[in-house]
């Protein structure tokens, strides 16, 4: 029997070799965790389309690339952040370049009372990776084995953080394809309130792979508004997994805007372990060219009397492909659960494709759950009506596209973030994103 040569990039042995050089190698618990994670990843490998959760997203693009870990690249000190509106929000800024925190660009010393930022030396044992299930998210195993910095944002009980925390993940690469692994945790204490904004930007270089993991825990009655703009370079790969756990009475609102990366996946797994919690997963994806954007969510209702609400709206042009997979699990004792899920795509050209897979698994009998998925084109009648009033075709199309995504944008609870994201999206649209 002739074995096919394995051309796939071998992340496992790559990181095995450099384990001693990664930050935190003096911490025994971390060494053990990294070793374990790498073993698991070595066994699982990069997910393939045979894996049901990865059915529509093929990782061949990264499988065949010879990535250099970003930690091998000396960190750059001089960098100008892109001036796009969403990067300018008034916030406590934390800047990562290639997954490593850049203190000179971050507000580490000016953080407010109720917020404590711990880095790898302070986090301590048994906190990192607690929410992760590597079988479910193999890429999170790779991240755990390979991250350079892990940031843990602790919001004290009862604290109400006056400004958003803004994590800006910047890619700064040269000619070699580079891989890095942004990693953070948010622990929102009881009755606390905080807005967390995440931006992913490609500043220099195009061929990189950003493999992000977030672990988010909301204690009783905590409110966390979590917004994310993924504007990575159009040739880059962005794979992100967020694990969220909601205790009783807590409110988690996640809104993602996906415009960047050639290949991207934003996976959110939320587990509701308390009653009267509210989990809102929302987003907009604007893709063109040959972009592939995957939004995969899973909500586990493991307690009664909670609600979940999902709305994703996609605009696809050229040969772009959108994927939405949404699973809602309502366990046997999770009575009076209320779940809603909607994925709508606007297809602007013939070459586009959208795959929508809702999955409802309901074991309780007193439950309200609904889901829907639609894919449609721009309304030609409306387009003609607008043009007949003197509005140019490009502007008319953008008006209709903005009208389509408006209902998702309207879901954002924070009015100033809503305005900022709305303006950012308008700018992209008028600059030609999803419009030729």
């Amino acid at each position: 029997m002739v074995m096919k040569p394995n051309i796939a990039h071998d992340f496992a042995s790559q990181y095995d070799e450099m384990r001693g050089q990664l930050p935190g190698s003096h911490l025994n618990w971390l060494q053990t965790l990294r070793e374990h994670s790498l073993n698991v990843f070595g066994e699982l490998g990069l997910p393939t389309v045979r894996n049901e959760r990865w059915r529509y997203t093929n990782l061949n693009k990264i499988r065949q690339e010879n990535f250099v870990p970003a930690s091998h690249i000396s960190s750059c000190s001089k960098i100008t952040l892109p001036s796009e509106k969403f990067t300018q929000i008034d916030a406590y800024k934390i800047v990562l370049i290639n997954g490593t925190i850049i203190k000179s660009l971050s507000d580490i010393d000016d953080l407010p009372e109720g917020l404590k930022l711990e880095q790898i030396d302070e986090i301590g044992e048994n906190k990192l990776s607690r929410l992760l299930d590597f079988e479910r998210t193999p890429m999170a195993a790779l991240n755990t084995a390979a991250f350079t910095d892990a940031l843990c944002f602790n919001i004290r009980d009862g604290a109400c953080i006056n400004k958003p925390i803004h994590l800006i993940s910047v890619a700064e690469t040269s000619t070699d394809p580079v891989v890095f692994h942004p990693r953070f945790m948010i622990n929102a204490g009881q009755n606390s309130k905080v807005t967390f904004f995440e931006s992913h930007i490609g500043a220099k270089g195009s061929n990189y792979f950003s493999n992000c993991v977030a672990e988010i825990e909301l204690s009783s009655n905590a409110t966390l508004h979590h917004y994310k703009v993924q504007n990575d370079h159009e040739d880059a790969t962005h794979i992100a997994a967020s694990e969220v756990r909601l205790a009783d009475g807590s409110n988690y609102e996640n809104f993602v805007v996906t415009v960047g990366a050639k290949l991207s996946r934003n996976e959110i797994n939320a587990q509701i372990i308390g009653s009267n919690a509210d989990c809102r997963l929302l987003g907009i994806y604007l893709l063109n060219g040959k972009q592939h954007g995957d939004h995969t969510t899973s909500i586990d209702h493991a307690a009664p009397d909670s609600t979940s609400h999902e709305m994703y709206k996609g605009v696809l042009d050229d040969n772009a492909r959108g994927v939405f997979q949404g699973k809602i699990l309502v366990r046997k004792d999770s009575q009076r659960t209320n779940g809603y899920q909607l994925n709508q795509a606007l297809l602007l050209s013939k070459g586009t494709e959208v795959d929508s897979k809702p999955e409802l698994e309901i074991y309780a009998d007193d439950v309200k759950c609904s889901h829907g998925a639609t894919a449609g084109e721009l309304d030609e009648e409306a387009l003609f009506y607008l043009r007949a009033r003197g509005i140019s075709e490009v502007v008319a199309r953008n008006l209709l596209i903005e009208a389509f995504i408006k209902s998702a944008l309207d879901e954002i609870s924070n009015p100033s973030i809503q305005t900022t994201l709305g303006a950012t999206i308008s700018n992209w649209l008028s600059a030609g994103k999803c419009n030729d």
């Binding site: 309304d379 009648e381 409306a382 003609f384 009506y385 607008l386 043009r387 007949a388 009033r389 003197g390 509005i391 140019s392 075709e393 502007v395 008319a396 008006l399 209709l400 903005e402 009208a403 389509f404 408006k406 209902s407």
Partner: protein
């Protein structure tokens, strides 16, 4: 103002307009009447630049320019306005946003100064009030949930805002109650002037009591079969179109 010569138009291989000749002069008001399906809306859509139709023969010039070569937005910029028989609902686009975008697009095309938010608001409030459209309606998405009559008022508001040279009004009177008919007619009459032409498509002589036309054309089966003064409408009201359709069949 508008010169149509031997216009033949078909859709999906069916000829709908079969040789139309029309000459509209500045400052005059024209009416087109004709039975259902005779091609009145087809003519208005073709003038506005809809790409659903194929022009198989003929020419259309608008103030000396070839209209057929222009896209819909250029026609609007040049001063052509179509009041739609069935105004389109556009969820998610506020009426005031739509009006402002349209007005400034047309102003830009005409080389005039665009209006800022305050100037626009002042203007739109004044015109909306004249036509009986409330502030609240301006905030609502374009035509969504508007009653039939409200949609038609909204068409007249757009007409008043955009100040075209030629307004083609396709059944702007249908679905209006008696008071609304008067408001809408007043709105249209306010705009009449020596430099502006109106082409009013209607089924009812009643409208023509308010908007008195200089000339009435009768369109039957894709052709203009009769032309006359305003008395023609009264005649049609009595006898219907049978004399034209019968002669067609013969």
């Amino acid at each position: 103002m508008l010169k149509i010569k031997n216009l033949h138009v078909s859709i999906d291989g069916n000829e709908i307009l079969r040789g139309i000749d029309l000459d509209l002069e500045a400052g005059k008001t024209y009416a087109i009447m004709g039975p259902n399906g005779s091609g009145k809306s087809t003519l208005s859509y073709v003038l506005a630049g809809s790409d659903k139709y194929t022009i198989t023969d003929g020419t259309v010039s608008f103030n000396g320019k070839n209209l057929i070569g222009m896209n819909p937005e250029e026609r609007a910029g040049e001063g052509l306005f179509l009041g739609f028989q069935y105004p389109v609902e556009i969820p998610g686009v506020a009426t005031s946003t739509f009006l402002k975008t349209a007005l400034n697009a047309v102003k830009k095309y005409r080389g005039e100064d665009e209006l800022d938010a305050m100037q626009f608001l002042k203007l739109v409030r004044k015109k909306a009030e004249e036509i009986g459209i409330s502030d609240e309606m301006l905030k609502r998405p374009v035509n969504v949930g508007f009653s039939g009559g409200e949609k038609k008022r909204n068409e007249v508001l757009q007409l008043a805002m955009l100040e075209p040279k030629l307004a083609v009004l396709d059944e702007t009177d249908s679905g209006l109650d008696i008071d609304a008919l008067k408001t809408v007619a007043d709105g249209v009459n306010r705009l009449r002037g020596p430099k502006r032409s109106m082409l009013v498509i209607t089924h009812y002589q009643r409208l023509l009591n308010y908007i008195v036309p200089d000339v009435i054309h009768v369109l039957v089966n894709g052709k203009i079969v009769a032309t006359g003064a305003k008395d023609l409408a009264i005649e049609l009201e009595k006898s219907g179109y049978s004399m034209f359709t019968d002669s067609q069949a013969a």
